[in-house]
Symmetry: D2
């Protein structure tokens, strides 16, 4: 149907065929609504195998919903959430945390979207001081919006820093599978084992249609979530169609294969494109995104055939992103066209 | 997979096979995200054929989202929305209009969930009085939460009443297809032609997976909607998977056939069950829902095999609902079992 | 300065001279801000003598603030507050509870603004049902917006009804002094002794300039209030000027004398005016308000000289209200003018 | 009554005696409530003489209310407000803009709390991009939270920068009188003449009890304010007691004399204390605040007798602030005690 050639976002790809099959299968017969169906109940169990038996799992349809609802549930309006200035919750959700939750975000400058205890410390503010929002959550994105990874040790240090100050550690895992694939660790290793408190679990970008979840990893947080999800307009009536995606996604290592593939395609693109004169890949390519410097005129030529974003207009940095659906042939064709474009200018 | 026998809600059925096929087809290749894809753009055009060229159509994943976002977009926090006390927005959305929009709802007592100008008038309050919420919208549900229909004339009168007072008329059309099928009129006849201002268009209950829309029927309302949808966590990234459902739903009269079928199954059930001694069908059965009085002991027996709600515990009224997926055989089996249950007590 | 002759509201009177003197005295020297001053701290102690040592007292500048902040502190957005349809929080605060707190109000029909367990019961809704706002507070106004009083026994019954259902009992005491004066009981008798949970304490209408308070009567409620008051823009910097009013108001029975006087003036007016042919005082005059039926033409004549409200335009009911500042002479002059007006038509 | 010796905040002083007298005078007789009284109406006229006939003036009781309500009125929840990281709205209002208005604040790093077009430009974000909060207001504080002044030219440049981008320019004038006194200009010169859009006008810190106002300087902004003020719990019933303060404050140059005096006391303190070995006054002293570096041990000694804040614990910077009530004798005594304290360590 579509001839779009996209390196713009992993969101531009469709769903993995196996997940579509699972949807078809989930469509059989009548089932209870609002998550009381067998598929949703079983999917909960599958998630617990990955994240531990104390986890509570709640399905939503967008990553924004996962982030905002998770944060909203654990905060009062007088709390603040500390995050990197580049965080999706700060930059890319049109003020949803503020509008839906009255949450104050405290954006912290960062080079690559990563936070460190040292960077956070000066922004904690006056605890107990009535004039100041009271910090409650440190939110990190893994991998970051700039495609970088926290090591497990770095996450562990942030968790310790947070817990020492009675703060919770939230992980925006919109691309959590890509992070696990890159770090060669399990979901558990990267979250529950490190004492992370709650996460946004993303499936959509890595092969689902719209399958996201808020996961509270501990029994004592998340009170009231069920009502808040309803208020957030995210209590899907035919919930089986969300959970069925994730049930299949988590089976047979589909999530892992998709993520490994996407990461590998990014590496291939970075290596091949990076070797072209006139192209500079900026920093490391940790997962499935890269930021490159190319001549603006080349972008102009490439945009006739390809869809991707100019990330920073000032120095003409472009973002290229691969997905589970990106093929080697697509990468190679793109690389050839980049080379051609640069030669043509 | 599931052996659930449900007359509880049209939400318990799956999606129509034709819509699942459309999903599979929509899955081909890469497409732009967030509604900028060809499928969503085409579906907009299809909707305009039904609702008029001035309509603007916005896809969301739940009926709550359609209602709350539509109302939120046209109101300020100091506005009020007048609705029947039984309205879904008042009773079944866990306070989402208040929580997300700061909207004050003014519930108006009603026998069957229907409003009339005479019933609304005493609740309008003091226009311009700083201590009072300022009325902005009259919201009706068609068919109502109690399964009743407004005639086109009744809607027209409410619109006129509203516009005379500078109010907007909103129609919660979670089951709008059932209403059109029952009234043998088009979507246009029941909305745009009557000068209705905006509607919640429901597809999920009548054969979609999760396909709903906010439709502003006039060009001068709906400002800011796109940002508010994002803030409401309803801007689905792979939007094609919502619009593709509705595109197919609106093709080849699928929406109409499904609705006619559901309505016919309700009529069949009402006639057959109503003929049983000990069962009283309350009032008319206008669409696909009915309220019946049966002995509590019969409910107990039936609940071993069937899923349906006791609507009012005081007088033991039960609600039975049919859907596009309810078959004649299911109805007949249920009727036979009702009869058996009553005899057994 | 002003020649306004008002029976419109106790809000039209100024402040009692003794309270102005206290303000002057409070103005001496430098004091800590935001309630950390000696006057505020001492006023807290005075309040505790009246309401019990477990009470926590928080000063605000308007009755709306007292109501909304109190309710906001004990609710989540998915909670509801049950109140009489005529309640100030439902009718006269321009949707502030919904806008600031996302609170769902459940208005309950009532003849005189009073609630009873029997009237509340059908409105409690489905506890634990995710689609329904979860009831958390029953809010009553003492005296009601229609000038009626709950007996202590009626309050006690409502508290028991509330506590049996894990609900809190809130009393809007905008005119609490008038109620105590009329019932000849102490603040303690009418609140703490009956196990009421929290109240809005009004001083403004009975002789203060702007002196109101939220009082939590038990140690385990009110968490987070101090931050919420700041967010509600009600943390006055020179707080001494609010607390000093209330400190004086509570000394030497000033609150009681003012309230008794206002009530007595209402009784005088009701008796004398009620004796005039053509004037009907509706129902009992429990405190300092009355509702009367007079010929519309008389109102027209009286409005040339006097300020008061037509409460119900349909049957031309007027509201007359007295205050601490209303004198016998004012009442008698008004009565004479009512008589003259009626004769003139 | 109080023997507090404070250089902590101008909030620690009481009200000017002339303003107390005006309160006493305003207390005579009955007046209409909620701002419909003669005093409030006249005070509006006085304000218009200062700010131009197109100004609309709205009284509130706290500076937080003035800021939050002004910003709330001109924004939608999907708008953002750009401000210095040190801005009171960002740091000292416990998240009220986010909680009451759903407003996203974009804090911009600044040395002295001042913004420049160049500093703002990179933070404007993507206009029209649905994922990003849409900038609507640039908010500056004059003088800044760090006691610095914008020149009229700097304000003019910011207004032009704002208007070129369809943004509004808001001035937080909590200490606007001190700024005018220091710049030797009128209110009009510093606001209306420079095309500023709306301001928070503060009287409390400079001699009022609690007298603040939101002033919209142009006729086409501020729609809905009256309802929003009511919702914000700031519609004081006996409004005369707020407006009477400001009426007197603006008469006979009282505002100017008070501000000049406070500024002069700060200058005196800065010069005398700055001359002491071991004391460094940081940067210029533009109005009535200064930041000084002194030995921590000296602070410890001084705190036995004086009340002031340690602003930055890392480098032990203290803030000293004077007010209309600070006398030369107080300054001189404080200077002597500083000297003694430093010698004693």
């Amino acid at each position: 149907m579509s001839a779009l050639k996209s390196f713009a976002s992993d969101n531009n790809s469709g769903a993995h065929p196996a997940i579509m099959e699972a949807m078809i299968k989930a469509n059989e017969g009548f089932l209870k609504s609002y998550g009381d169906d067998e598929i949703s109940i079983h999917t909960d169990e599958v998630f617990k195998e990955y994240f531990g038996s104390q986890a509570s799992i709640h399905y939503v349809t967008t990553g924004t919903a996962a982030n905002v609802l998770g944060l909203r549930t654990v905060t009062q309006t007088y709390n603040s959430v500390l995050c990197a200035a580049q965080a999706h919750i700060n930059n890319d959700e049109c003020g949803a945390p503020e509008a839906f939750g009255g949450i104050k975000l405290v954006p912290i400058p960062s080079e690559d979207g990563k936070l460190t205890p040292g960077a956070i410390a000066p922004y904690l503010g006056h605890v107990g001081f009535v004039h100041a929002s009271q910090p409650k959550v440190i939110s990190i994105t893994q991998p970051t919006e700039l495609g970088k990874l926290y090591t497990l040790k770095e996450i562990e240090d942030l968790v310790e820093f947070a817990h020492d100050r009675d703060l919770l550690l939230h992980m925006d895992g919109a691309r959590i599978a890509n992070a696990c694939a890159a770090l060669d660790c399990s979901f558990f290793d990267m979250t529950t084992a490190l004492d992370v408190d709650f996460i946004s679990f993303g499936g959509t970008k890595n092969g689902c249609l719209m399958g996201e979840a808020v996961i509270f990893l501990k029994p004592n947080i998340g009170e009231g979530f069920k009502y808040l999800r309803k208020q957030a307009m995210q209590l899907v009536s035919k919930m089986r169609f969300v959970s069925a995606q994730l049930e299949r996604y988590l089976a047979d290592d589909l999530w892992l294969e998709n993520a490994r593939h996407a990461n590998a395609m990014a590496k291939r693109l970075a290596e091949k494109a990076g070797a072209i004169d006139g192209v500079t890949i900026k920093g490391s390519v940790d997962c499935n995104a890269m930021f490159a410097s190319i001549p603006p005129e080349a972008t102009e030529i490439l945009h006739e055939k390809y869809y991707f974003y100019v990330w920073d207009e000032h120095d003409h940095t472009v973002r290229w992103m691969t997905s589970w659906a990106t093929t080697e042939a697509m990468v190679d064709e793109f690389v050839a066209d980049i080379e051609k474009a640069i030669k043509a200018i």
